[in-house]
Symmetry: none
Subunit: 76 residues, 4 copies
Amino acid sequence: MPTAEPPYRRIANDLAAKIKTGELQPGDKLPSTRELAEAYGVHMNTASRALSLLHDRELITGQPGRGTYVAERPGQ
Amino acid sequence: MPTAEPPYRRIANDLAAKIKTGELQPGDKLPSTRELAEAYGVHMNTASRALSLLHDRELITGQPGRGTYVAERPGQ
Amino acid sequence: MPTAEPPYRRIANDLAAKIKTGELQPGDKLPSTRELAEAYGVHMNTASRALSLLHDRELITGQPGRGTYVAERPGQ
Amino acid sequence: MPTAEPPYRRIANDLAAKIKTGELQPGDKLPSTRELAEAYGVHMNTASRALSLLHDRELITGQPGRGTYVAERPGQ
DNA sequence: GTGGTCTAGACCACT
DNA sequence: GTGGTCTAGACCACC
């Protein structure tokens, strides 16, 4: 059995999918780290890592503490 | 004698070792922050920081108010 | 109103954004822990924790007593 | 130009090389996180990550806080 | 009960 | 001066 997806990737991929399908539109505000942690039932550190990953992929922008938003050209 | 390991890391590594050796099994509940603090003779803050480190390493999971548990795939 | 982002994360993300946008360049010196604490109106501990997060993300480098600097390859 | 090696990998590889060449023998005690951080001029978080990597590769064993040691059969 | 966070003030080691 | 850590005590939200 292959290694399962780590939680932070699961969350990141979930959000990425919502962006891809248009459920989350460019410019939309994402939940805060704390809200994500509660929503997905994980530790704040895990939620933070998920957001960090999306930031790296340039799917989201902004200062997460002041509000994280879906990038205007997600995936460039 | 060179500078020693700080207590919060000592505690974190101690728990990590117990997970690695199987003394703590995936799904097992860890002692509460307060219990850990008492067991190691440190302040709650210090014990909390140790647990935070293990969260980062994805060795443990759990959310506030529900306790802390050994991750299902510790170390991925 | 849902629970907000904790200050130490807000500060960390704020600094991370400045690095990402280039407002803070690789090699630049960051404000000291004490300066950050004053600037954001928080305790030194809180500012220190924010910097620790950025260390984990490899966005900043430096050792005790020498100041903190933007990493050469922020975000790898 | 290819992405440079992140510091924590550089340190991990450095230690791994010392184990491979026999400069560090099975059973030898490794420096503490703090000592490693000082020796390599990096943050404690970075040194900690390097040790964690070696632990994952089973090159080292033990509870790092109580002392980390070169594994008896490094690389298995 | 649980974990998470903040302030306050102190100490240490290194530059 | 710098960053890193610890204690002490408090508060919050969720179960």
